[in-house]
Amino acid sequence: MSSGNQRQAPLPIQIEDLTVAYRAEPVLWDIDVSFHEGTLTAIVGPNGAGKSTLIKTVLGLIEPSAGQVLIYGQPYEQQRRHVAYVPQRGSVDWDFPTNALDVVKMGRYGHLGWIRRPGVKDHQLALEALRKVGMEAFARRQISQLSGGQQQRVFLARALAQDAKIYLMDEPFQGVDATTEKAIVDVLKELKSMGRTVVVVHHDLETVPEYFDHVVLLNVRIIASGPVDEVFTPENLRRTYASRLDGAATDLELASAGVVLQSQEDGDGRVPNAQPDRY
């Protein structure tokens, strides 16, 4: 997943020399990474590492201070149709007066363009998307009456209704129930089997090897990126979760990373050379 310019077919997402800063403090520093077609990639890193900022910048929601993002070789503005976005559930007010189906139909708005209203075809596509996440029975339900996991699935269905080639998801697994987690995983697998490119901001280190084939370890800079088997190592994780200021992890970070590494080792032994003692 290194950046390379000599490829023939343009990559789904190519990020070059990207730096983003709020005021003086850089949130992302010199990011070079690309995402290949048909991959499921987790973006992992501590709080404040710039994970959400990274995908928001890809989506053109945040203006970078330097560098660029290319979607199939062109700026985002020219490729919107190919990109679907699942924002964080907490980013909207769920007391908004509307129902689940209506929210999913919003996924069709980009295709409809100005003024035109969703038609029969959009209605069918929205229902189909709701079915894929197991929410067809809740189509007419007022969104404030849905559980957190159900709301998350509605957002996922909305992105599916966009019928895009690239899916960017911001913490879809955050605080969801087991049913929702399974529904999301099933959708991820289906998207992969259809050759879609999926990038997910992810919190739970334990499930990374199970759910994803690629991983980007991010802490303002890219610490490592590539296939999970190669880069999801204790050493890389330690470097990712180490504090930026003095190079040593805080107690809290050590504890969370350490615990996870131990359980990885205890589990299927996928992470070699894990040495919890060192932490």
């Binding site: 928001k56 989506l59 053109g60 929601l61 503005e77 919107r80 990109v83 976005y85 924002p87 980013s91 909207v92 007010d93 908004f96 007066p97 509307t98 129902n99 209506d102 929210v103 919003m106 708005y109 980009g110 409809l112 100005w114 003024i115 035109r116 209203r117 969703p118 007022q142 404030s144």
Partner: protein, 392 residues
């Protein structure tokens, strides 16, 4: 003046007709706009803008020496816009948050306006009298031309909302997502703000700067109580605005020395109060009743279960018990109410000796309750466990 006389006056009296129409249309416009302001959590934007308009009105008079509404409205428009721009500059360039920035702009502009107004009143300029009507509004000053202008704005607002319905909905619910789809969030912001400023400016004569803000919050707050659908909410909000506007204007015009603005605001406040209390689902009264009903149902279920367990232990689920024995399960009045309700349901009966017992259908109901419980909660009457529970 009785109601019939008032109604006939609306048709025949030129001033009253203008006032009622003007305030009604203002209500419709601000009602529709308030829906979006409230849903976008920008309720205070109208507040800040209406207050910011005051120095614009006074300065326009000082500069031109004229009191024609058009000139003063222009001043209000410029000042209101300046206020909005200032809020946006403060939030983007400093660490001051949006609500604080609104508060700052509101206070500074309004204070400045009041200072100018007071200074002007001390200047002994005869023509300045009447400017203070922009503080609290004076509906009687409304002429047909004003009504026409308001109607024009009303039609423009409603047409825009109807045409760009899908865009308004998406941009209000999830602006970031709208931006990724390519809809211009910034332009929408400006358009909505411009419409709100226009409504504020038109409302100045009618209700004044102090209370125009209420018209940009209250109708939507009331309407939200009654519906879960955006379309219905906008219609209701406009309706509430119209009723309060026309109603308040008529009341104040037909009563001596009652200011228009406060009267209109009192009308919309009454609608808000009724909505908060009595709207189905969201209303406080229904929520309270629902809670009482739930509590009563739980108490009934609890009593049924305990009587079943004790009776079962004593040999037969149909066993009867004196009232005193049941008092160990529940406090006095609660127990009597629950027993009475269970008797009504046909689950318990009172025999000639004054003893309470389960009916066969009561036994079935108690067993159903126990079955439905999660296993951990259900304390089925296994002899040992039950004895401990009853004794303890």
């Amino acid at each position: 003046m009785d109601v019939f006389q008032t109604l006939s006056l609306i048709v025949t009296d030129y001033t009253l007709r203008n006032v009622a129409l003007g305030a009604g249309i203002l209500g419709i416009v601000s009602g529709a706009l308030s829906t979006f302001a409230v849903l976008r959590k920008q309720s205070l934007l109208g507040d800040a803008m209406s207050h910011a308009a005051l120095p614009g009105v006074v300065l326009a008079f000082i500069i031109t020496g004229q009191k024609t509404p058009l000139v003063l409205m222009l001043g209000a428009l410029i000042a209101g816009w300046l206020g909005v721009v200032l809020v946006s500059v403060i939030t983007s360039q400093t660490r001051v948050k949006y609500d604080s920035a609104l508060g700052l702009v509101l206070a500074v502009f309004f204070g400045f306006g009041m200072m100018l107004l007071t200074w002007l009143q001390g200047q002994n300029i005869a023509s300045q009298s009447g400017l203070d009507q922009y503080l609290f509004g004076r509906a009687a000053a409304i002429v047909e031309h004003d009504v026409q202008t308001m109607a024009l704005l009303g039609v423009a607002v409603l047409a825009l909302v109807a045409v760009f319905w899908k865009e308004f909905k998406l941009l209000s619910f999830n602006p970031d997502y709208a931006a990724t789809l390519g809809f211009p969030v910034r332009a929408f912001d400006i358009a909505l703000t411009t419409l709100i400023v226009a409504a504020v400016v038109l409302g100045l004569q009618m209700v004044g700067v102090v209370l125009m803000s209420a018209m940009l919050v209250a109708p939507a707050a009331a309407a939200r109580q009654w519906t879960d659908r955006l379309g219905v909410m906008i219609v209701l909000s406009s309706l509430f605005g119209a009723v309060a506007g026309a109603g308040g204007a008529i009341i104040s015009s037909t009563t001596t020395r009652l200011p228009t603005g406060p009267t209109i605001v009192l009308c919309i406040s009454a609608i808000v109060l009724i909505s908060l209390l009595f709207a189905p689902n969201r209303g406080i009264v229904w929520a309270w009743l629902r809670q009482q009903r739930n509590r009563a149902e739980l108490q009934k279920a609890m009593l049924l279960e305990k009587v079943y367990q004790v009776s079962y232990l004593e040999g037969s689920p149909l066993q009867t018990h004196p009232l005193e024995e049941l008092r160990t399960f529940m406090r006095g009045s609660q127990l009597e109410r629950a027993l009475e309700a269970l008797k009504q349901d046909g689950y318990m009966h009172l025999d000639e000796d004054g003893r309470w017992g389960l009916t066969p259908s009561g036994v079935a109901q108690a067993e159903a309750i126990l079955r439905e419980r999660p296993r951990a909660l259900a304390r089925r009457p296994s002899p040992d466990g039950l004895r401990q529970e009853v004794v303890g």
